[in-house]
């Protein structure tokens, strides 16, 4: 049997509270041993396996993106399971929760089966399907959650749309308790957001682009927290974008409500200033908000109110994006830029390394109930090796994603993935 030895890197593993120089031995797709660097007897592994020299590099558990859109089935011209997972491993991600708003939507076991089969054949990373909350994602009646759980979904979400009917949301939070799976809520009161295309504020006042107020998100976060409190169900708030939203989650957690939350790298990095030149790549839902919101999101990340950083990777082709701002689809790709954007918070000393890695590994694993997100003996060997000092420029023609809709094109980045290992196999680098 052959080994894989990752030698001399700085291992950061928040689950085991480890930060130091370690050698990692991988065998049969799993972590066999994690040893203080230099403890390994000289010739033990020579000639029996492959050695990766990780000196000067950081070794972290493979990142888990609990929110992305892989577009397959149905919109393969934007992304496929193959291209999406390839982009993922190039960005240091080893597992992806794939949102259910495909065509057809993932509201029954046959769609889940299709996704899992396709991923097992063509996927470079682990694909974890998310099922819809409601049949046809219409917001009217619950899906067969038991059937979907048995087929392998890790959560339920109508993401892309809000569950506007409060009674349906209540019952979803209630019924899902039997399966111990979270409901991931895209919080948006669509009556309030209306025809809005950007954040309502100074930029919408100046550009004449229709705004959607922060309150279209916060009233729904408030509603969902109330319903989680009523039912005891597991609520996960997708892509928080507002200061008041963070505050509501902070208070709810203090009261002991069963709620977790995620934020995207783009909401941590950009404000609505990015749409002033009518760049459709910066059109996203929830929209890029004000500087106060961005500050509050970073603070929420620092103090633990926000558990997870998730990309909301949402590929669109030129057909959807190379049009008038009003007509353009919302969403941006994020798998390949996420790590560098996250690391910039570290370099600016807004968050410490272990806390940052936790939001990308340990916490999403905990919320989705995965035995991953750590380099523990016996765990599947999902690993990312990072050069924290590598500098690179985002060139959309060189990204692995099938789509190029990113407002970060041309940005100078610091920190890059050197190698990615999924289930013990080197899949990138």
């Amino acid at each position: 049997m052959s080994f894989l030895l990752i030698k001399g890197g700085r291992l950061i593993d928040p689950l085991q509270a480890v930060d130091g120089l370690y050698d990692i031995v991988v065998e049969k797709g799993r972590v066999k041993d994690v040893l203080k660097a230099g403890m390994l007897a000289g010739n033990d592994l020579k000639n029996k396996g492959k050695v990766i020299d990780a000196e000067g590099l950081w070794v972290i558990p493979g990142m888990i993106d609990m929110h992305c859109h892989l577009r397959e089935p149905g919109e393969e011209y934007k992304e496929t399971i193959k291209t999406g997972t390839t982009a993922a491993v190039a960005g240091g991600y080893t597992s992806l929760a794939a949102m259910a708003n495909t065509i057809p939507v993932n509201d029954n076991a046959s769609v889940t089966d299709f996704i899992l089969n396709k991923a097992s054949v063509e996927g470079a990373a682990n694909v974890l399907p998310v099922g819809t909350v409601t049949r046809g994602m219409k917001g009217e009646s619950l899906v067969d959650m038991g059937e979907l759980k048995d087929a392998g979904v890790v959560a339920f979400s109508d993401d892309g749309r809000a569950v506007m009917n409060s009674e349906i949301m209540r019952r979803a939070l209630e019924y899902s308790k039997a399966f111990d799976l979270p409901i991931i809520s895209h919080c948006e009161d669509t009556n309030l957001s209306g025809a809005g295309v950007i954040h309502e504020g100074y930029v919408s006042a100046v550009t004449g682009l229709k705004g959607m107020p922060s309150e279209s998100e916060t009233v729904m976060i408030g509603r969902d927290i109330a319903l989680a409190e009523l039912t005891g169900g597991r609520l996960h708030i997708a892509h928080v974008s507002t200061a008041y939203g963070v505050e509501l989650i902070r208070e709810a957690k203090a009261r002991g409500v069963n709620v977790t939350a995620e934020v995207t790298p783009h909401h941590l990095t950009l404000t609505d200033d990015a749409v002033r030149g009518f760049d459709t790549a910066a059109k996203v839902n929830p929209p890029l908000r004000g500087e106060k919101d961005r500050e509050a999101l970073i603070n929420g990340l620092e103090d633990g109110t926000i558990d997870v950083i998730a990309t909301d990777h949402a590929p669109h082709s030129l057909v959807e994006k190379d049009v008038e701002f009003d007509a353009a689809s919302s969403g941006m790709i994020g798998l390949e830029t996420s790590l560098s954007l996250c690391l910039s918070l570290l370099f600016k000393k807004r968050i410490n390394l272990s806390a940052l890695i936790e939001k990308l590994t340990k916490n999403p694993a905990r919320i989705l109930g995965l035995e991953r997100g750590a380099l523990k003996k016996g765990f599947k060997a999902d690993i990312a090796i990072i050069d924290p000092n590598a500098e690179w420029v985002v060139d959309t023609s060189k990204l692995y994603s099938k789509s190029a809709n990113t407002p970060f094109r041309g940005w100078k980045m610091r920190g890059r993935v050197v190698k990615t290992i999924v289930n013990g196999k080197v899949v990138y680098g």
Partner: protein
């Protein structure tokens, strides 16, 4: 004859223009205005140039004004009425732009319901792009003609109190005028129902008021905006009747304004809704001056952008 002070390809918004550029356009417009009073209303300045009017929204007035402006400068003007629904048929704004580029025009005048559409076009075309109104964003030639009209009457812009009344949220005329008047040193106050004034507008340096009668007491200029009848459906306005009582300008409300106040309206008028017929036809009203100045301003813009030399 006139020094060409504008070194830019496009006119996309008042936001882009410097104070000097604004003044240069107004100066040129004053000189060109005389052309329209001649027997032969034409100068050869832009002979051989082609100007395309690309209108995705019906607007006979603005289109005619641009067309006439082009013709009085001896340019060839072509009108293309594209419906925004051609996008539904699969032809995108980008396709349209590329098609135009192939015809090699010197300027494209574009009106479009979506904010930023002229900006998209301008990135693709080598020719000059003039924004003739993009959604609720900007309508720079309207602001320039309003500045010209006020300056003609008041002999200055700096220090004037300008009051803009109506649906500010959905008005490109309001946005361009706020920027234009502020840059020219005037004070601007916006007045309307709270549902029609966007949050954040104060940061453009304007005062906000919900009371028309009170807010015109110190006005040098009152600009009435056209109210879209559709606004009363939905939650923005209870009824046009109530709107007209609160925010329509009639002789009675005008009594509180200074005697030398002037009144502007970008047209077309909703007589009896935002402006009473008596006010529209009163000596305070400069609505027809706006129309003739519109022509002069557009001639001036073509002159500056297309590098006219004599």
């Amino acid at each position: 004859m006139i020094d060409n002070a504008i070194k830019r390809k496009d006119l996309l918004g008042m936001d882009d223009l410097t104070v000097d550029e604004i003044e240069a356009v107004l100066e040129t417009a004053e000189k060109l205005k005389e052309v329209s009073q001649r027997d032969i209303k034409k100068v050869p300045t832009l002979r051989g140039k082609t100007i395309i009017n690309l209108f995705f929204e019906p607007s006979t007035r603005t289109r005619t004004s641009f067309e006439l402006a082009a013709k009085r400068m001896s340019a060839d003007a072509i009108n293309i009425s594209a419906s925004a629904s051609s996008v539904v048929k699969g032809e995108t704004l980008i396709d349209t732009a590329m098609n135009l580029e192939a015809m090699n025009p010197d300027a494209v005048v574009i009106r479009h319901p979506s904010p930023g559409a002229p900006h998209i076009i301008s990135r693709l075309l080598k020719s000059s792009v003039v924004n003739a109104g993009d959604g609720a964003h900007e309508h720079p030639t309207q602001a320039l003609l309003d500045l010209m009209t006020v300056k003609e009457k008041k002999k200055r812009l700096s220090g004037l109190q300008v009051v803009i009344v109506g649906d500010i949220t959905h008005s490109r005329v309001a946005r361009s005028n706020i920027i234009g008047f502020k840059k020219s040193g005037a004070k601007v106050r916006v007045v309307g129902a709270p549902t029609l004034i966007p949050y954040g507008i104060e940061n453009m340096g304007v005062q906000v008021s919900y009371d028309l009668k009170e807010s015109i007491k110190d006005a040098d200029v009152i600009m009435m905006l056209r109210i879209q009848r559709e606004r009363q459906e939905g939650a923005l306005l209870p009824s046009l009747r109530e709107y007209s009582i609160r925010y329509g300008l009639d002789m009675e409300k005008l009594e509180d304004a200074p005697k030398d106040v002037i009144i502007l309206h970008p047209g077309p008028l909703n007589r009896g809704v935002e402006i009473s017929p008596e006010v529209a036809d009163s000596p305070y009203s400069l609505i027809l001056n706006q129309v003739s100045n519109g022509l002069a301003v557009r001639m001036a813009i073509f002159y500056h952008l297309l590098g006219g030399k004599e």
